[in-house]
């Protein structure tokens, strides 16, 4: 690919003289060369595999026997009849909505606190951000200990006279646990982005609003939120896409249980393909996941026009 990059340099001098090389043509060549590595990567590592997934979804692949047979719509039929799918989609939705709402509100809350020009906020900012740099698996393992029935979290709650639930063993609590572990791991990232956005809001606007007699809450809603809305959109997209890919936490903490209460779609398709060896059905589930992400992204992109204050 270095070869490709060198090309325009060589063709530069004749291009200056030859009328054929208009700026437009040169830009087209340069543009294509610049996106070539990325485009080639996406085709090789995303589009071709995606096509193969579609191909696998109309086949039944018996890994152990080494057979690969065309089964037509069988896997799609199975999808329609899968009683497990409903609960799985519900868990996926709960996790994503829960995580996005909690993550964005906590991130914004912390960012607002840190934005009050106080001494020592750098220390707090560092502390809130530090889980981001801790290895995800290490973080999850540690929370696994803390969330045991006789673990640190319940001991902490006990100090305040609260009898904590058996976090990883009862349905609702397990979902809360998985969300919370992910929340504290990554909220620092969004917090920093919000903090930067908040610092970009001109102080004069607050002054003006104050003079107009707006309350603190009104100033937050009318001035802050619209001005940082592009950041809100971006963090939202990142968090949603991330939430749909949650895997290590489920694998380490609950393995989808208790019952199937924390079996989210990614975990379910991993189970079907890699644990139960239904690769064909796993591929079919991958397509469902793909469709969900696609629809969500298109919807968010449309919404952007409605409520994002300014787009560059």
């Amino acid at each position: 690919m270095t070869l490709l990059l060198e090309k325009p340099a060589r063709s530069d001098s004749p291009a200056a003289r030859a009328p054929y090389w208009t700026m437009r043509r040169r830009d087209t060549l340069a543009g294509w060369l610049m996106v070539a590595p990325q485009l080639a990567g996406i085709v090789t590592f995303v589009l071709v595999p995606l096509g193969l997934v579609v191909w696998y979804s109309v086949h039944e692949w018996n890994v152990l026997a080494g057979t690969f047979e065309f089964v037509g719509g069988d896997n799609y039929q199975a999808l329609a009849n899968d009683q497990q799918l409903g609960p799985v989609l519900r868990a996926t939705g709960l996790f994503s909505v829960g995580l996005v709402v909690l993550n964005l509100s906590l991130a914004l809350f912390l960012a607002v606190l840190l934005n009050q020009k106080l001494r020592g906020t750098v220390v707090f900012r560092t502390l809130f951000f530090s889980p981001v740099v801790v290895t995800l698996v290490a973080w999850t393992i540690v929370w696994g200990f803390l969330l045991q029935d006789n673990g640190g979290v319940n001991a902490f709650l006990h100090v305040f006279g609260i009898n904590g639930p058996n976090w990883l063993r009862s349905g609702g609590a397990a979902m809360v646990s998985v969300i919370v572990v992910q929340l504290f791991k990554n909220v620092g990232l969004n917090m920093v982005l919000f903090l930067a956005a908040l610092q970009g809001v001109p102080a004069e606007l607050y002054e003006a609003a104050r003079i107009d007699g707006a309350s603190a809450w009104a100033r937050f809603r009318r001035v802050t939120v619209p001005l940082i809305s592009p950041t809100i959109l971006l963090t939202m997209i990142l968090t949603i896409v991330g939430s749909l890919q949650v895997f290590a936490q489920i694998a380490v903490l609950t393995q989808g249980g208790p019952g199937t209460s924390t079996t989210v779609l990614v975990y379910y398709l991993y189970q079907q393909a890699f644990q139960f060896h239904h690769f064909g059905y796993g591929a079919t589930l991958s397509l469902v996941l793909f469709l969900i992400v696609l629809v969500l992204t298109v919807v968010q992109w449309q919404m952007r026009k409605r409520w994002v204050f300014h787009e560059n």
């Binding site: 325009p8 543009g31 990325q38 696998y56 020592g120 740099v133 001991a155 902490f156 940082i228 896409v241």
Partner: protein, 274 residues
């Protein structure tokens, strides 16, 4: 004054779930197994021991695995920066035929979680004899789906640059690559910082790919190695696991704390705010 106290109070309370797990991990790795599950848990080990740390290195080539994780993350970061800054610049500033279509194609990368394509990718790398090597862990994030986010961030940043800058460059006789390299890239430091951090952390945390692609211990990465601390019969070795977890987290954490200003501010100053 009262408001200030309230804010400090809130900040302190909020700290607990961020700091306590790290504290607990580090202190508990010094406890003997019998003390780990004591209820209520103790804040400091009563009889600290470094046994677990000895075990970490005795059971697995942990140092080697550390180097693996580190160099993979670095290579991926540098490679991603090259790929995404070029593509991001082209999408943001170069008007070329088909750019819209290409951008859409590249964006599909954001829509396809790794888990979706892991089976075909495995078969592809195996066809090239690259299973149980670090190539899949380097090539896929660098060129495939995970790099799209990087390209997107770079694009968002380059869009914000005023067009007068490039016009001045053009007058000086710079071509497209000259404009990219001499004019725009030096200005993109915050975005580069953000992409570097995102990419490094993504690679550093990778879990599913290593467990699928790697099988020799010498080649393992840290997250994968962490779940390997079990006795000969699959029984967990709690304190050893925690010691390894601590070792995986503390150095990065210390580097981060020392360099946190550049780290966080670099991240904050990106074009992400739009």
């Amino acid at each position: 004054m009262r408001l200030r106290l309230l804010i400090y109070g809130l900040l302190l309370v909020c700290c607990v779930p961020f700091v306590f797990p790290i504290w607990w991990m580090a202190t508990t790795s010094l406890k003997p197994v019998s003390e780990i599950f004591a209820f209520p848990p103790s804040l400091l080990p009563a009889s600290p021991t470094l046994d677990a740390y000895r075990q970490v290195f005795a059971l697995q080539p942990f140092g080697r695995q550390y180097v693996n994780s580190l160099y993979i993350a670095l290579v991926v970061t540098i490679g991603t920066l090259a790929v995404s800054s070029l593509a991001g610049y082209a999408f943001a500033r170069v008007r070329f035929r088909g750019s819209g279509a290409v951008f859409l194609i590249v964006l599909t990368g954001l829509l396809v979680p790794n888990e979706v394509t892991i089976i075909p990718l495995y078969k592809m790398f195996d066809a090239f004899g690259l299973v149980d090597t670090h190539w899949p862990l380097i090539l896929i994030p660098m060129l495939g789906a995970p790099s799209v986010l990087a390209t997107f961030i770079m694009r968002q940043f380059f869009i914000t640059l005023p067009s007068e800058l490039e016009e001045a460059g053009r007058v000086d006789g710079l071509g497209r690559f000259g404009l990219f390299w001499r004019v725009c890239l030096p200005l993109a430091r915050p975005a580069i910082g953000a992409v570097a951090i995102f990419t490094f952390l993504h690679s550093w945390n990778l879990y599913l790919e290593p467990i699928v692609f790697l099988s020799s211990k010498q080649k393992f990465t840290i997250p994968q190695a962490l779940t390997q601390y079990v006795d000969a019969y699959g029984g967990p070795m709690w304190n050893t696991q925690l010691a390894a977890a601590t070792l995986s987290a503390l150095p990065v954490l210390i580097i981060f704390i020392l360099a946190q200003r550049q780290f966080v501010e670099g991240l904050a100053q990106t074009g992400l705010k739009g």
